[in-house]
Symmetry: C2
Subunit: 354 residues, 2 copies
């Protein structure tokens, strides 16, 4: 059953991902309705409707649910209960189960390991003693990460020496966490997959990614010299999507190592490392996500050029828009966020090389 | 002086052209504010703001003017006086003079002829006697067109025999008109130009166009076998833009004939025959229009493939969206218009051939 153009898509979350989803949906003739706690979220500026409410406000979320024909989310740190209530009201894609897996690092790693994937060696850490035990098992260097509510490098502490355990534990404020062995990697890449409601699955050429301080700086597609690792990672991504009966775009991040691809994390949504697909692929991740959640056939994912490069504009970098526009082939994207705080993703720029 | 992203662009007109302009503007970080008489215009669904008002309502237009930093229009049948009032309030691009020329067929043809261009032979017709005189001068077949408020074949009557003059005159309801000699043409093409506020001018590869019943059905770029005629038409378009001190996208339509390009009409705005530029050119007509009116440098206009085809979806044709989406390389655009009335432009589909 497909949802006809003219119907209303609800998007939980009002950031740049929601903004780009809303524009892709509008192009296909859908109306969008945004749910977010902010007064003027970037996505609401390009959407037909907006309900302002806190993430955990079930009454506001129910009001939102009454306005929409299908719902999706662009923000993964939402509690399970309000989202389950929404899913009882309208079709919700990707499924809440995918969110439950992805928003908890322990669930996520266990899920991937059960499918035969290779996360970095990890141990759950529930208290200070548990951290010492995990360090003894995994050695240093290692990374302590909160199980939930981490993104863009937040909620993480690197432990280079056992003596740093105390400080790391303080930095996660005693939250349930996971200790991961530090992985020596050559490069990073991600798999961007979209699965339709009929199980049809498409995968974009994998981008290689560069992070700084836990934040994505640059993606380049296709990733070079990683064909075997990408193929292995693609197979894992397909299995993950199948297992979750997934509908929509799913992103999995990997470290390329001498021993093969090591799973890092997954996101049950459109992903920053797929922003290049707007100009660099026949169909963007945003459009295919919309197609999937509306039960439409998926669009082609081939590159539109020989290779594509996407640079994030973080904090003050967005102030350089004039210089970026001076390159007639640069595709500038600004998200309409007011204040360019340090570390804040303000926009990105894509270049397609033909 | 360029207008920084984050500023608000006012768009007079709320149809699909405004909708696509608003999305291009949002991508660059601008807010858009729509002015239109309709309750729920397609453009307002993707814009941050909307003022509802009649075209001639100067008070409402002044309210709109207070909300925006720069204004443009996507609808050319607006009276000069309200637009002049708006131009006194905020920068208005393209200039009102361009609109004054383009919205009157007599002015338009005279303007182009004065630049050395070749419109079809024409005579002004102000009364019934004038029509007979014009028919005697130009012969039949000929086309009687109202000077103002014509678009998509509306306000036109073909005269095959002198005896049809009476009926033609009745059909234009006695409005000031122009009689044009009928042109035997091989094909049609258009020139899509964008001129920046510093005079920088870019031109997209010219599309060939097919009309049915006065309505564009298909554009294909680049137009084939017309290099010399296209070059001549491009030179005329550049001169026209210069003469008007034009800022923004300007479209000129031509008939390709054995005697060279014959000017048909111009539109001081983004144009249906340029919709293929969204996926088929490095920079779309919508983005370059936004760049121009904001005083930014213009983007590249090269094709992204070997050739590009755009088919309009008129009336019930938009109901075929499912079949269109079954082609994974088709780019579907639906405008969010409620009712698929016969002849109404509901969307378009673009295919890029690589």
């Amino acid at each position: 059953m497909s949802l006809a153009p003219g119907s209303t898509i609800g998007i939980v979350g009002g950031g740049q991902l929601g903004r780009m989803l809303a524009m892709a949906a509008a192009r296909l003739g859908y109306k969008c309705h945004i749910y977010a706690p902010d007064e003027l979220p970037p996505a609401a500026e390009v959407a037909a409707g907006f309900t302002r409410g806190a993430w955990e406000d079930e009454a506001a979320l129910a009001d939102f649910g009454r306005e929409v024909d299908v719902a999706t989310y662009e923000f993964e740190n939402i509690a399970a209960a309000p989202l389950a209530a929404l899913a009882a009201q309208v079709p919700l894609h990707p499924p809440a189960e995918a969110l439950a897996v992805a928003q908890d690092r322990l669930n996520e790693k266990s899920f991937v390991a059960a499918l035969g994937g290779s996360p970095a060696p990890f141990r759950p850490v529930n208290d200070r003693t548990g951290l010492d035990e995990a360090l003894a098992a995994l050695g240093v260097p290692a990374v302590l990460k909160t199980r939930r509510f981490g993104y863009d490098g937040k909620g993480q502490a690197r432990i280079m020496r056992p003596s740093e355990a105390e400080e790391a534990w303080a930095s996660v404020r005693g939250a349930p966490s996971v200790l991961e062995a530090f992985i020596a990697f050559d490069s990073e890449f991600s798999i961007l997959l979209c699965r339709g409601s009929d199980g049809e699955t498409v995968i974009w050429p994998a981008p290689s990614n560069e992070h700084e301080g836990g934040v994505l700086r640059r993606s380049r597609a296709p990733a070079e010299g990683l064909d075997a690792q990408v193929a292995e990672a693609e197979a894992l991504a397909r299995e993950a999507a199948e297992a979750l009966d997934y509908v929509g775009v799913l992103a999995l991040e990997f470290f390329a190592t001498s021993e093969g691809p090591v799973f890092n994390e997954m996101a049950p949504r459109v992903h920053n490392s797929g922003h290049w697909t707007v100009e660099g692929a026949v169909t963007s991740q945003f459009e295919n996500h919309v197609r999937a959640i509306c039960g439409l056939p998926l669009g082609a994912t081939a590159l539109t050029g020989a290779w594509v490069e996407m640079d994030n504009l973080i904090g003050g970098a967005a102030d350089g828009w004039a210089a970026i526009l001076a390159d007639p082939a640069a595709h500038l994207h600004l998200y309409g966020k007011g204040e360019a705080r340090p570390g804040r993703k303000m926009g990105h720029v894509t270049r397609v090389f033909r």
